[in-house]
């Protein structure tokens, strides 16, 4: 059952959520059907452990890796116990060799170190390696650069140091010299074996850990500094976070669907029971979904944050279906239809290419916003603006922003810069902030997630 426990550990490292109850089920199931047939074992473990569609591939890959390992170990066990004729022959011939050597030299050279003795007797080292690896906590391996380090540590634990000392010692006799040569070869073979083992364990335990490590890192990373190579992973993370929020909030809304008691209908429904009210009838409340307008500055460094903000917003479409989106550098442009018609990723790419990176003019952009959208802002609308408020010394048209604030339910200003750089240089954050319900820094994925979580909670 050790195998199963270790395997479950590896699956968990790869991101499968496996509870202790599920582990117990797996063990019970394996007790019933055994591990003999690999195909059966595979479907048994899949039935009990893998509950999400997206985990199937990971499971498949790890299973193959892991059980190949076990079967190898088993095979070598079999060799030991059954002593195939070839092996016995070999041992006999060795014994003869030794006897011959004894007969010739009159004295035997024996290895002094423990490891040397086991190598000289050609013991199977697989188990010893596995134990040493366990003692060195090999399953905690994270980076491929650690592989050599672990291989070295395992060799040491196996008694490599003593053996090396023995090999370095001056040979006293020709027999001893020959023994030293043999041992040196055996040690090289052992090292290969250890390295193979480490490599395999690395594949099982670490590769997925590396991804997790990077994901954790990306959650905290400044979006404005993000490398292009990380975009794909980041997009996945954004969608994951959005899905989480969406499921949380769709559930909450369901419980609120029931409205007040509908007296007329209740009376009608209970006429058959002599007027005693057994069945209640309720008025349904109109479910109010938050109406959101999002305005994104897509100039310069803000554009990267804008990209992920929009991505997040559109991944939330299940719970926030009514979104109007605008982007601006100097002109305000509505991109709602573009984002709906096309695949979100290519749409974002297009937006950033066409309008991103120009110099900002908040005054002109807000004037454009007034023309296009001010009339449709009502008391149910939440307006979100993402921008650094760096206006190149122009007129900020705070009067328009003031109108937006008065007409809407709430105005959120998200600033991708940290608080202490607001109002430095050409930033005019403090001119806008009186007309915002709240102003918040928005620098990494965690911030975005927090912001939307609050929007959904109080809508």
């Amino acid at each position: 059952m050790r195998f199963i426990a270790d395997f479950i550990g590896a699956l968990r490292e790869a991101g499968l959520p496996i509870s202790p109850a599920e582990s117990l089920d797996a063990i019970k199931a394996i007790e019933l059907l055994g591990l003999e047939s690999r195909a059966t074992a595979k479907s048994v473990l899949a039935l009990t452990l893998v509950k999400r569609q997206q985990d199937q591939a990971t499971y498949h890959e790890l299973f193959e890796l892991y059980f190949a390992n076990i079967e190898n170990a088993k095979d070598s066990d079999d060799d030991d116990t059954l002593e195939s004729p070839a092996a016995t022959d070999k041992q006999q011939s060795q014994r003869q060799d030794q006897e011959n050597a004894e007969a010739k030299g009159g004295s035997t050279a024996t290895a002094s170190s423990v490891l040397g003795q086991s190598l000289a007797q050609q013991e199977d080292m697989a188990l010893a390696i596995a134990q040493a690896a366990k003692a060195e906590d090999l399953s905690s391996i994270v980076f491929f650069t650690q592989k050599n380090h672990f291989a070295y540590k395992i060799m040491q634990r196996l008694g490599g140091d003593e053996l090396s000392a023995e090999l370095r010692a001056k040979p006293g006799s020709p027999e001893q010299k020959r023994l030293q040569d043999q041992l040196a070869q055996a040690r090289a073979r052992l090292l290969e074996q250890v390295k193979d083992y480490v490599e395999q364990q690395y594949l099982i335990f670490a590769r997925h850990k590396g991804v997790k490590f990077r994901e954790d890192h990306l959650q905290q990373a400044k979006l404005s500094q993000l490398e292009h190579t990380d975009y794909a992973l980041m997009q996945r993370l954004v969608q994951k976070a959005a899905r989480k929020l969406a499921t949380q909030h769709s559930r909450r809304r369901l419980t609120r669907k029931r409205g007040q008691l509908d007296v007329r209908k209740t009376l009608a429904a209970n006429a058959a029971f002599d007027g005693a009210l057994f069945h209640t009838r309720w008025k349904a409340t109109r479910v109010e979904r938050p109406k959101i307008m999002v305005i994104c500055d897509v100039s310069g460094s803000v554009s990267r944050v804008a990209r992920f903000l929009l991505l997040f917003l559109y991944s939330l479409q299940d719970v926030i279906p009514k979104v109007r989106s605008f982007v601006f550098a100097s002109d305000m442009i509505e991109v709602t239809s573009l984002l709906q018609q096309e695949d979100i990723e290519s749409a974002l790419e297009k937006i950033m290419q066409r309008w991103g990176g120009l110099s900002t003019d908040y005054g002109k952009a807000l004037a454009g916003f007034q023309e296009q959208a001010l009339t449709s802002i009502d008391k149910k609308t939440t307006v979100i603006l993402l921008g650094d408020a760096r206006n190149n010394e122009g007129d900020g048209r705070t009067d328009i922003w003031q109108k937006v604030y008065r007409q809407s339910k709430r105005v959120l200003w998200l600033n991708p810069e940290q608080r202490n750089s607001w109002d430095t240089g050409d930033s005019i954050m403090s001119e806008y902030s009186p007309w915002c319900s709240s102003v918040e820094p928005c620098r990494n994925l965690k911030d975005i997630e927090g912001i939307f979580s609050r929007i959904l909670k109080y809508s």
């Binding site: 509950k51 999400r52 369901l254 002599d274």
Partner: protein, 311 residues
């Protein structure tokens, strides 16, 4: 549940073979799932695209084990009064009427309020009791003496609250009725839940179940299914059908043809006396396979190409 013939579930292989004899061709992992469900007494959550035989599996299991199949179809707004139990209001009302008449006899000769109340307490109260309980599918499954196969169909269509409500049933085979108390299963039913993945199910539910994913069958398995389901189908035509379906499933369709559609199509072709797939007949019967106009429009111009590779 009480399985009278233990040899029926002696091993996954036996189950697979016997299912085959009953006309349900399945992969070894499906048989393993049924085996484990019987031995570990765990519910199975069956997922997969529509039409791969999820519901059919429950039916065949029930038939195989000679147990009644209790089926509950889930939908939005399903609640415990429809799934678990309901009080027989009408009878309860009548009961109170009868009680009123009896009350005079019970209280006759009682002196003072205290004695009346004491007598009333001694009088049996059956207003909320098994007698007035109308069992719905879940309760029926628990009350069935010799066990049953309970099929909770399309659990993803039910609300999340209902899913939470099922948890007690799935892990302990018992339900709580506030007025009576806990009702334990007389003999544990075999529970199967199916889901089409219209929404992600909760982790708590998944944790309590074995998770069986039934994908579209590979060509070999599908060919065997067709052979079992459609009599008198020419072997060559069968291979052609299966190969064409496999090709269609690789195309970017809104809805890929499922096994049930393959079977319908094969039956239709048999009815039309088609001996070999040709573009004309495929075109005429395409609407049996593809249920969206967009899909039909996508496939129609390709038919000749698709058929070329088959011969």
């Amino acid at each position: 549940m009480i399985i009278k013939h233990q040899e029926k579930i002696a091993s996954p292989e036996v189950i697979q073979r016997q299912f085959e004899a009953l006309g349900y061709i399945c992969s070894p992992s499906v048989a393993t799932a049924i085996y484990l469900a019987c031995h570990l007494q765990k519910p199975i959550l069956i997922e997969g695209p529509p039409g791969v035989g999820k519901t059919e599996l429950a039916k065949i299991t029930a038939a195989y084990l000679n147990a009644p199949l209790i089926r509950m179809q889930c939908y939005e707004g399903l609640d415990e009064s429809k799934a678990l139990y309901e009080w027989k209001y009408g009878k309860q009302l009548l009961y109170t009427q009868v009680l009123k008449e009896q009350l005079g006899d019970v209280l006759r000769g009682a002196r003072g309020l205290d004695e009346s109340i004491a007598r009333l307490h001694n009088f049996g109260d059956i207003f909320y009791s098994q007698d007035f309980l109308e069992p719905r599918p879940l309760l029926q499954a628990l009350q069935s003496e010799e066990g049953a196969v309970l099929l909770v169909d399309e659990i993803d269509k039910a609300d999340q609250e209902f899913e939470a409500f099922l948890l007690e049933l799935l892990s302990d085979y018992q339900v709580s009725i506030p007025e009576i108390g806990t009702v334990k299963a007389r003999s544990t039913p075999i529970v199967m839940l199916t889901s089409n993945n219209t929404r992600e199910l909760g982790d708590a539910l998944k944790r309590r179940c074995l998770h069986l994913y039934i994908p579209f069958p590979d060509t070999e398995l599908e060919s065997r299914i067709l052979a079992a389901q459609v009599d008198n189908l020419d072997a060559q035509l069968r291979e052609q059908i299966v190969a064409l379906i496999a090709k269609l499933r690789d195309m970017p369709l809104k809805k890929s043809p499922a096994v049930s559609e393959t079977i319908d199509w094969a039956r239709a072709l048999l009815l039309l006396n088609v001996e070999e797939l040709d573009p004309h007949w495929v075109k005429e019967t395409l609407n049996l396979l593809l249920k969206f106009q967009d899909d039909i429009e996508l496939v129609e111009p390709e038919i000749t190409n698709l058929l070329k590779g088959l011969a």
